[in-house]
Subunit: 672 residues, 2 copies
């Protein structure tokens, strides 16, 4: 029977993952369809069925003419105002819903999930309300045309879905570490459905979210991402048979001399990341201080502004995914869907200026939009900026090569054949900007390939992303998710940074730890102590008479609470007035107590007698690496078997914060 | 100046990595070219230049006719014997060179590298001789037609190259942990150049080699793999402009009903892995016992046998890469290079039987060939077996669909259009067999895409590999590399297994640790102690009079050796007979010693006063996770500040081994 139970529990965990994956895939499919419908609603409606979007409405009709799709009015200008009105309305509705029902549904959510996976507790952040509101708000936010993406929010609703479903099973509800494994897997599934990139999702969960890498987690992420993507593919929301929104194929190979131009794109990616995250944080700080009460108005205004500005530029007018598809395209075989971009004779200054304007305006919009109080990601907008910049460079190089085909730089080109592929520059630009803003690298390379299948460009992509990484490492302060964590003051130790404190543990530890002793203590006293000192656990020592006292072990708060609840459940006959006087023992139970008829609580079975400890003179770096690698809540500081203090993640961060401020202060004094 | 030095050291590490990457890329290019030349030499020679292989010899000639390429003789049968003779000769030469000059160059090397990266020391395994002989032996072994691949050996020569180059720099020579980072990066570069798959290489290093995942390592692997692949691409050894040997493109998408057939391939992959690793280990055990002295004869015989058997089967006659390229190919556009495979009317039983025979024979050859004393990997042969099996399934399904197009199973197919793509089945088969034998998963998916670019098949590939993984986990004993580690008895703790010992540390620890005390000790005594107890480090305690003694710290052997060498270098005037009487202090130096003119050695600066410790009653699992996460050589067992023992990786493995044997013995007794 034991074996059967084992098989059941093993199967259960896969079952739960499969359920979660299916839910995520289904949500993604519904969101994709409703986003498209809402976005098309801005331009008109389908006369054969209001629930159809433009593509489905015009299904099977030849050419551009589609009689079933009706504009809202007969006048162009009026249509434009209707368009802006819808955009503002969607944004207002999204902001209102989020503000009223689930404030946590605002923004991207990746920073918070990083902290939650690392062990931070945030009540309600993953609840069903957040799931519902994020799922309703996201299509509205995207359809409003704001410069926001769906990838961050996808991760958030995926983790919410995982949390809600896994909570139905006692095994997960009661184990935070098991729950965290589920979260990692959901992150992978969230990215997988957002980009149609299952392997990219697995790597994202690995590179960005999980601080402690484990094979088991990786395999769970793989499974969950696979199921979610499979379900999404079965729904086939784009009716293309493909998971992804755009697929490109570059027939021409790249040339070695192009590496120089690729490098420019890489440098741009790094600088874009640094610039945008810096200014976005300033905008957020402004928003936090002055705009807290005006979330709905702010979103409405932003959406109207975006719609007004973007209409004037041919590259901004399209939604970001469609714009990227056009920018990525190789100019060949009479592909003329997107006018000027592919006609060398018209590749004059006008178009380059138009691309430049699109790049600058979109950057500005990203800075002011990301962080406004609707569900909003920054991945796709950044990619769009990068693609615009890349295409700009690509077109300049192409123009140059066509003007001077016999220049020594272009000697690798075959005469009278197209040599430069500006679409590939756009592709590389998207990769660079994405890795610049997120500071993830291997994942970006994989996602770009899964998005487009442009495998011939693997070396250029790696080079560009590598250069971006070098720039970010040298001049940047980490990805925007990490900077948001810092900005919001979450207790999170980044495993990518190298910590050099040059200080012993004793400098950062809490000296007056609250502990239990071997002396008997009443239930009332225990409960008072738990309430007045809400820590996650307490050391147990022999006696408080010695200082420092001899350490015996460590007991988690939830264990104490559990034992008390169990005792109360078993001893319902004890009058509540007497209940407070029940004795609790953390050490040897005296013979007298055993003999007496009085009930008591024996806490000893729940005491961990071998907690993680460090010496007070050990370097603080050791403690951070224990936190990162072993993941405890707290580490006891012990000298010769005696408890001299304890140290938590927060203490390390507090110490880091204080020393950095002192350091800055000191430097400022010096330079004055 | 301090800043300048920092910049220099930071730049140095990238410089070293770039140098290593370039070296690996260059070696790979030379090996690719020479392998092709040697392989072609079996069939003839180029009359316009003996140093040209068939492709270059016939460069620019139209059609199949190539006058410059001469067969060895005019008679077909005689040519066949020349062919077999060359094959046997190459194998004999490879085995002879390896046996005589560098025994470590035999086999794959991945198992050993896993152990080395985990901290195991193996003198000479990564030396320049091994590098040279592996590089000479590998083309010979591949060209001999043995069923061996070049991927494992590529990893080995890459790590050798890294070791040799990094050893030129003092910073790496003196730091084993820095050296291990280099090894991880080289592993990535080795896989990258072997498969033309840089991202696959990075993931391989992560999933298979590195036990302790760190962002820094990942980024170094990325850089090294990028440089190596870039150099290889610049050499362009296949003159195709592509990095990889075959590129396929599947125009047709897959259908949901095919998932059932894909599952069969996945199950095959898992079973193949289990079967082959089991029997291969038996063959290796036989080889170790009986064939140790006959390495050259064995290799010669194997190569002759392989050449003789394989000639009879159309799929085995080609080399494995070419065979796979044909098997992967989609049958369309009059592609008839490979006769029967694409002509439905001739797709009779004959061809299916031929495929089946190829699959069975190749499996047999893999079992007996892998592990023979030439440089030999198992990746490509396994992929070839898998591809053959996959194509077999694919052709059966295609045949069935064409015979009964109106069956309900095939209702998703469009009438009168090709529906099944047997080439994709071969592709999936290769992925399944590769992941079955190696037990790596995410990496295999990425490698398969970088090899072929068949992105539309990402979901089927993930499904197939997932099923293979499930089978392997349930019934298998881990990848062949891990099983070889176990077979060879290397001290390696696998972080994929979950360790449940249910025992405290005290059960497995060494109780009588050799330590130094505060009492003064002569240099001679220290040296004798180091020689007679060759550990990697020693605890330092206050006094041996107490039992257990009070722990002070831990000192590494290399630190003691370094201090002694420094002392000797500074005090050349001391006569060698007096040298042995020099006092060494691990604790307080008495005033008398300070005052006297006698020189002494102060060991205290090198004592680590905060070594990693555990309590004797802590669960053994804690220690394994400390080994895995923090990577120390040894952990001290301390109770109330006193040293009661110490525990190394070997002790954990020894304990695991003994308990497993007892358990097996016990189970056997019960069943009797």
């Amino acid at each position: 029977r034991h074996k059967l139970y084992e098989v059941y529990t093993a199967a259960q965990s896969w079952l739960v993952l499969a359920l979660i994956g299916m839910a995520i895939g289904a949500i993604a499919a519904v969101l994709n369809i409703s986003t498209e419908w809402l976005a098309d609603l801005k331009t008109g409606y389908c006369s054969t069925g209001f629930y159809l979007n433009e593509d489905f409405c015009c299904w099977g009709t030849e050419g551009d003419h589609c009689p079933a799709w009706q504009s809202w009015t007969g006048f162009g200008l009026l249509n434009y105002f209707v368009y802006v009105g819808f955009a503002a309305g969607f944004a207002a509705l999204a902001a209102f819903l989020v503000k009223t029902y689930a404030p946590y549904a605002a923004g991207s959510g990746i920073s918070e999930i990083k902290c939650i996976v690392a062990g931070f507790v945030m009540q309600g952040f993953l609840g069903p309300w957040t799931l519902l509101l994020k799922s309703i708000g996201l299509p509205l936010a995207i359809a409003s045309g704001l410069s926001v993406g769906k990838e961050g929010p996808s991760v958030h609703y995926a983790v919410c879905a995982g949390h809600v479903i896994a909570s139905l099973f006692g095994r997960y509800r009661n184990s935070k570490s098991k729950m965290r494994e589920i979260y990692s897997a959901c992150t992978a599934a969230g990215v997988a459905v957002a980009f149609g990139s299952p392997i990219g999702g697995v790597l994202f969960s690995l590179e960005e979210i999980t601080s402690n890498f484990q094979m088991k987690t990786m395999w769970r992420s793989y499974f969950c991402a696979l199921v979610a993507t499979g379900v999404l593919a079965a729904f086939n929301p784009f009716r293309t048979g493909q998971l992804v929104m755009f697929q490109v194929k570059y027939d021409r190979d790249w040339h070695f001399f192009e590496i120089f131009f690729f490098s420019i794109i890489g440098v741009f990616g790094g600088m874009y990341g640094i610039f945008v995250s810096k200014w976005n944080l300033r905008v957020q700080s402004f928003r936090k201080r002055y705009l807290g009460k005006y979330a709905v108005k702010e979103a409405t205004l932003l959406a109207s502004l975006t719609a007004l500005i973007c209409y004037s530029n041919e590259f901004l007018r399209l939604d970001m995914t469609a714009a990227m598809e056009n920018l990525f395209h190789e100019c060949e075989n009479g592909w003329e869907k997107y006018h000027d971009l592919c006609q060398p004779d018209r590749q004059g200054l006008t178009m380059l200026l138009s691309l430049l304007a699109a790049c600058v305006i979109r950057t500005f919009l990203v800075i002011i939009s990301y962080g406004c109080k609707v569900p909003a990601g920054i991945f796709v907008p950044s990619m769009a900026v990068g693609a615009t910049f890349g295409r700009l460079i690509g077109n300049i190089v192409q123009y140059w090569q066509q003007a001077r085909p016999d220049s020594i730089i272009f000697s690798q080109c075959v005469v009278d054949q197209p040599c430069i592929t500006p679409g590939a520059y756009a592709f590389l630009g998207a990769a660079a900007a994405l890795s610049g803003i997120t500071n993830i690298f291997v994942t970006v390379v994989v996602i770009m390939f899964e998005l487009t299948g442009a495998l011939t460009y693997i070396l250029p992509t790696m080079i560009v992303v590598g250069i971006t990484k070098a720039i970010s490492d040298r001049f940047g302060k980490g990805g925007i998710a990490d900077q948001m964590i810092w900005f919001n003051g979450f207790p999170f130790i980044d495993n990518k940074e190298e910590h050099a404190f040059n200080a012993p543990v004793s400098k950062a530890m809490q000296k007056n730890a609250v502990y239990f002793t071997y002396d008997s203590i009443t239930l009332k006293e225990v409960e008072t102590l738990l309430e007045s000192n809400p820590f996650q656990g307490y050391p147990v020592v022999e006696s408080s008479k010695e200082d420092p006292p001899m350490l015996v072990g460590y007991i988690a708060k939830e264990e104490i609470v559990r034992l008390i609840a169990k005792f109360k459940a078993l001893n319902r006959d004890i009058h509540s007035s007497e209940l407070g006087q029940v004795q609790c023992y953390f050490g040897e139970i005296p013979e007298s107590a055993r003999q007496s008829s009085q009930a008591f609580i024996d806490m000893r079975p729940s005491i961990n007698t071998c907690p993680l400890t460090v010496a007070p003179l050990a370097p603080l770096e050791n403690v951070t690496s224990i936190f990162l690698q072993m993941g405890p809540k707290v580490v006891l500081v012990v000298k010769e078997g005696r408890l001299v203090g304890l140290i938590s993640r927060k203490d390390v961060l507090k110490y880091q914060f204080i020393t950095e401020r002192q350091h800055n202060h000191h430097t400022r004094l010096q330079t004055q």
